[in-house]
């Protein structure tokens, strides 16, 4: 079974907001959809889910049109939302009913997930000192933002969906809850689930995702397997930690120092071979090295570079168009 997004695009009048995006998930896993603000990630997600009508293109699951009626889909939207004045239990049962679950099954799943996400006190509040015996479940507006987010994650996973779309799942979470979310996502991802994750937190993406698409102004500027992409860049990030100052030696090699702290020096190489030459120089100079590490660029660096490159190309193309229209 595969999930295929084929040439989907969206136009509002003459303006194209998503321009022929395609990607494929051949097998269950986690796929990242990245981009700057306004790049078209949420619009793409809405088109995939059928919430927004596509101007063109198609989305297929197992070679059949992707229909949320036929396929069990879980969605955690970027803009979180719960009914503020409705009890958590009522809302969750409603959401489960919408997915075709019976009340009995819903209650079982609610019990499981409320314990898993440490929300059972809110779904099944226990009478305490000064509280009545039959205590009503909490309402959404009585929960903190982090707990509300957990409730929404529960809503996304309540029906054990086959396809899960997580739009900025960790935004606004404290470290403890962020870890809890990550553990849940890891657990879910280990099953036969097709997960599409959108996030600005590159560290999170690198933890979970195998493949990705980077969008800029509605277009895909980079696509593919994360490992392959990093490999194609080569290992060009060098971290040096030494008990002596190596700045002069590094500069003498004509290398770019990206960042320097009291502890370490981060150097950007043009290619891997420069690392060997620098090492030889440092050894010759008898520099007491503590750490000499060659790494691939981070996803953050790749993202920023690609976006800048794309913006530059767009600027050039716009200039050419303007010159052309002036000449006419």
């Amino acid at each position: 079974m595969s999930l295929e997004v084929k040439e989907i695009f969206k136009k509002y009048g003459e303006k194209t907001v998503v321009d022929h995006i395609s990607f494929t998930m051949e097998k269950p896993g986690v796929y990242a959809l990245l981009g700057t603000n306004g790049a078209g990630k949420t619009t793409s997600i809405r088109m995939i889910l059928g919430m927004l009508e596509k101007t063109g293109g198609e989305v297929l699951f197992d070679n059949k049109p992707f229909d949320t009626k036929e396929i069990n889909v879980g969605y955690l939207a970027e803009e979180r939302g719960l009914y503020p004045k409705v009890s958590l239990m009522d809302q969750m049962i409603y959401f489960a009913n919408l997915k075709g679950m019976s009340k009995k099954d819903a209650e079982k799943r609610i019990r499981y997930w409320s314990e898993r996400l440490e929300l059972d006190d809110y779904f099944y509040p226990k009478p305490g000192p000064g509280r009545r015996k039959n205590v009503k479940p909490y309402r959404a507006d009585q929960l903190s933002k982090g707990n509300q987010q957990k409730v929404q994650l529960m809503a996304a996973l309540i029906a054990d969906p086959q396809v899960i779309i997580l739009d900025e799942p960790l935004s606004g979470l404290d470290p403890v809850n962020a870890d809890l979310f990550k553990n849940v996502i890891r657990e879910v991802a280990s099953g036969d689930k097709y997960i599409i994750m959108s996030s600005h937190q590159m560290g999170t993406i690198e933890e979970f995702c195998t493949d990705l698409t980077i969008l800029n102004h509605g277009k895909a500027v980079l696509q593919g397997n994360l490992k392959e992409i990093k490999k194609s860049y080569g290992r060009v990030n060098l971290v040096i930690k030494a008990d002596a100052d190596v700045t002069d030696i590094v500069k003498a090699e004509g290398l770019e120092i990206k960042e320097q702290t009291a502890e370490e020096m981060h150097i950007k190489l043009a290619d891997e071979s420069q690392a060997g030459k620098l090492l030889a120089k440092l050894v010759d100079a008898k520099v007491p090295l503590v750490r000499y590490e060659l790494t691939e660029p981070s996803l953050h660096e790749i993202f920023v570079e690609k976006i800048e490159q794309s913006n530059a190309e767009m600027a050039v193309a716009e200039n050419k168009t303007e010159e052309g229209s002036v000449n006419e």
């Binding site: 889910l49 919430m51 889909v73 929404q152």
Partner: protein
Amino acid sequence: MNKKEFRGLKQVFIYTFSQYIKTPSYIVTLVLMAIAALAVFPFMAKFGNGGKDGESENSIEKVYVINDSGVELDDEALSSSLDADSIYEGVSFEIFEGDEDETESLKSEITEKGGYDIILSIERDLEMGGFRVEASYDSDGNLSRMNVSSLAEVFADWFYEYKTGSLALNDNVKDMVDGKVNYEIISDIEYLGLLEGEENEAIGQSGFWVVYTAIFVSYMIIAMSSGLISSKIVEEKANRIVEYLMTTVRPMALVTGKILAMMLVTFINCGVIGICAYISSAVSKKLFGKAAGELLINYVDAETLGNISVPMIILAVVIILLGIFIYGIIAGLFGASVSKMEELQQGMRGYSMLILIAFLLSYGALMVMQDKGFNVFVWFTVFCPFTSSMVMPGAMCLGEVSMAGIFACIAIQIVTALVLLWFVSLIYEGVIVATGEPVKFSKMMTMAKQKLMLDAKRRKSHE
């Protein structure tokens, strides 16, 4: 528009309905309405015009007639002024020919006797032409204004016929003298027998209040229901729940489910009030010997009361429910055009304007009914789908509309609702996911046009 567009309708309907009836405000309102409906008839029997000492009858016993009309009247002629099966059968008449002092002492006498008698004075109306009947009664006595007004109306109608009869004219001349000058527009509707009533007769005071009450109650029900629908939709948008819901529920189901839920709530409210009113009438009959009909006759004339039946009430409720549906769709669309609760009033301007205009047209129709009776303008408001839910129930009470007319009105409402549903289905998806500035009506029209063009393009490419 097809069935797929309403996926999730059942769940939205059940959820909206169950959540609404659980709210404390709804429960309290329903209980208060039920208590009011239960208490109304015993209260009227005990404290209304017919129950001042608990055992007196609320009816006119005698009518004193002061005749300055120039037309000769005698006691026999006056006695025949009331039909044998009229509720005023048994009322006695007496020509009173006293002077001013004697008239004053007659009034005192009437008061002393408990106010069961009235004085009708009939004279030439030199200002307006024709004749004028003035009815005097003791307002602190045992008679109601409605009762007296009703009798005066019956008497005036009788005198109108009698005065020309007294001139001993032959039938031909009598018809020419009596004949009013009317005009009418011949249309197909007349041949379907949709319009009843031979002439454009102005409605009486009791008819006025019946129609006024119907317009006001319908307007309040429709406005409140539609307001709730739009605020629920905005709540889902403002709280961003709509994004999650739309993964399983189609946008049209989100709005239609809410509308149907509000219709069911209204239906239940009407049912509860109806049942309580029935119990109230039975209790009043048991305790005070007066059922609903006998009490309402003091306020509503017999003919109107006779038109009110259970099937008529059910059809009136259906028409009001269809009004909720029509206005609910419009309120849902305008409600979805905004993204924040604070913007709801701004976004609902179009809807507010529409319902206000409909209310004013309905009220205008009422004024025309009171002045001229049922003319073209009034019939327009009776059948126009945006005003019929307010005007038609009252018109049905007055017996002015035939069954064919009632079903035609319902058919027009259903067609209007379907057309609105179709239009909304073209654009609702785009409107409900729009964020930022409220979506203006002009933008909605553009979206509809674009959707139609896109659908046409797709159909062509399939072919």
